[in-house]
């Protein structure tokens, strides 16, 4: 008997994914345990974003298996190795457990901040409207935007929009949160406010998978750092160690080039 505490929150088992002839994920495997913050770094085109998008089935893996808290995502693998696509309702249910924050915020422009946050809980989880509203207020307080509740997204700065997007994802009470280069589209002075919210979430014990270019942030906040290239995990481990003493030539080169860009 395994208890739920033994089951990894996310398990990626030998996942492959190609876009046409281009193989983006090449037999990648890793686990994310409950409460863990995993940061994924890698050069552009390394497959890190695709990997993240596979974790809520926005990209469909070609082979292998992805499990969220032990439940298969998107495809169920039969005993004989063949796979069956899950019905749409099941995919949607699985996705509602996985929060995602995008690089380009993707707030709903035709709805106020409040409605952006309450829309999914009310329509997907059938949460009572008043309750969803109360929760939206709490979440906005948490991301420091309580006064913006009735604004429309277009009236907010990038950093504010991204914090609303985080609140929107949290409103579904996900088991794991995915962050896809969430500060890349922000002006430099707005990056910190978003990272602060993420750090707070990490401290609260949220399971997080973060694809990022913010090396310092990855170093400070993540429990584990994973360097991927060519659709494979090249090196992973303690962030401080990994960044200080990379073993693989590819990570060395990546970090070298990364640091050089600051000189």
């Amino acid at each position: 008997m395994s208890t739920s505490a033994d089951i990894p929150m996310v398990r990626v088992k030998d996942v492959y994914k190609s876009f046409g002839d281009l193989r983006v994920l090449d037999g990648i495997s890793f686990d994310v345990t409950r409460g863990e913050v995993l940061a994924i770094i890698g050069p552009s085109g390394s497959g890190k974003s695709t990997m993240l998008r596979c974790l809520n089935f926005l990209e469909e893996h070609d082979a292998g298996e992805i499990l969220i808290e032990g439940e298969p995502l998107g495809y169920r693998v039969r005993a004989d190795g063949s796979r069956v696509r899950e019905p749409e309702a099941e995919i949607a249910r699985m996705r509602s457990n996985v929060g995602m924050v995008f690089q380009s915020f993707n707030l709903f422009p035709h709805r106020s901040v409040r409605e952006n946050i309450t829309m999914a809980p009310v329509s997907v989880k059938h949460v009572d409207k008043a309750e969803a509203n109360a929760r939206a207020e709490v979440l906005l307080e948490k991301v420091g935007l309580a006064d913006k509740i009735d604004e429309y997204p277009s009236r907010l700065s990038g950093g504010q929009q991204q914090r609303v997007a985080i609140a929107r994802a949290l409103a579904m009470e996900p088991k794991v949160m995915l962050f896809d280069e969430v500060t890349s589209a922000l002006d430099p002075e707005l990056v910190a406010e978003v990272l602060t919210v993420m750090q707070q979430l990490a401290e609260e014990g949220m399971t997080m998978v973060i694809v990022t270019h913010e090396m310092q942030f990855a170093h400070d906040v993540s429990d584990r750092l994973m360097f991927i290239d060519g659709g494979k995990v090249i090196e992973e481990g303690n962030p401080a160690k990994l960044l200080a003493k990379p073993k693989s030539p590819r990570l060395k080169e990546f970090l070298h080039r990364f640091r050089a860009s600051f000189n």
Partner: protein, 215 residues
């Protein structure tokens, strides 16, 4: 100077009522049909979009006047005995529907992919996503072309007179044949069509403002 027009105005107004009726039924039903087909075509896969595309292609490729004749003369040949009004309304509905299908499909496709991804990531199923995220944004995008199309089709109702269906243009021709006052009668008719279509243009502008939001 306009005494003949004024004397015949009640008769022309009767024709106007008939024109409005044709417009409301033909353009209204056609718009509903097109919205349904357009959204369906944009949302589902398989052979359905191709089928809908064929309908659009065939209807749009032939002038509405020819469709009036076809509806009027062809249906009885096929053993379908329908009234002449029903036949031309059918033609108007199908014709409007074809254009609206493309407008609706285009509007749905124009909603950024990021929006559907965000909705999916929140666990929304297709219908919920359509209702809460895609359609509200698509409606905003489609108001101007839809109203424009309605104005076009209201004017196209004048074609029904060629197969003997009575409405404003037909009534005007009757009056002209009787009075020979073509200039003032058609001036009046022009004004009446303008008075029907202009408020729609204003409504389009109002709705566009009312439902617009900054991106």
């Amino acid at each position: 100077m306009f005494d003949i027009l004024i004397a015949n105005l009640p008769y022309l107004m009767k024709g106007t009522v008939q024109t409005l009726w044709l417009a409301v039924v033909g353009v209204g039903l056609g718009t509903l049909l097109g919205m349904g087909l357009g959204v369906t075509s944009a949302m589902i896969g398989g052979g359905v979009p191709a089928l809908i595309g064929t309908y659009v292609f065939i209807i749009r490729g032939i002038p509405v006047l020819v469709w009036m004749f076809l509806a009027y003369y062809m249906l009885p040949q096929l053993g379908l005995v329908v009234g002449d009004v029903t036949a031309v309304i059918g033609a108007l509905v199908l014709y409007t529907g074809a254009f609206v299908t493309e407008i609706a499909r285009g509007a749905v496709m124009a909603v950024p992919r990021h929006q559907t991804e965000a909705a999916k990531a929140l666990g929304m199923r297709k219908f919920t996503m359509l209702r809460l995220v895609i359609l509200p944004q698509a409606v905003t995008l489609s108001i101007p072309p839809l109203l424009n199309n309605s104005v076009m089709m209201i004017k196209a109702t004048s074609y029904v007179s060629v197969v003997g269906v009575w409405e404003l243009t037909y009534a005007a021709r009757e009056v002209v044949e009787r009075t020979l006052a073509a200039f003032q009668i058609f001036l009046g008719v022009m004004l009446i069509y303008f008075l029907i279509c202009y408020p729609l243009t204003l409504a389009a502008r109002y709705l566009e403002k009312r439902y617009s939001y900054e991106h």
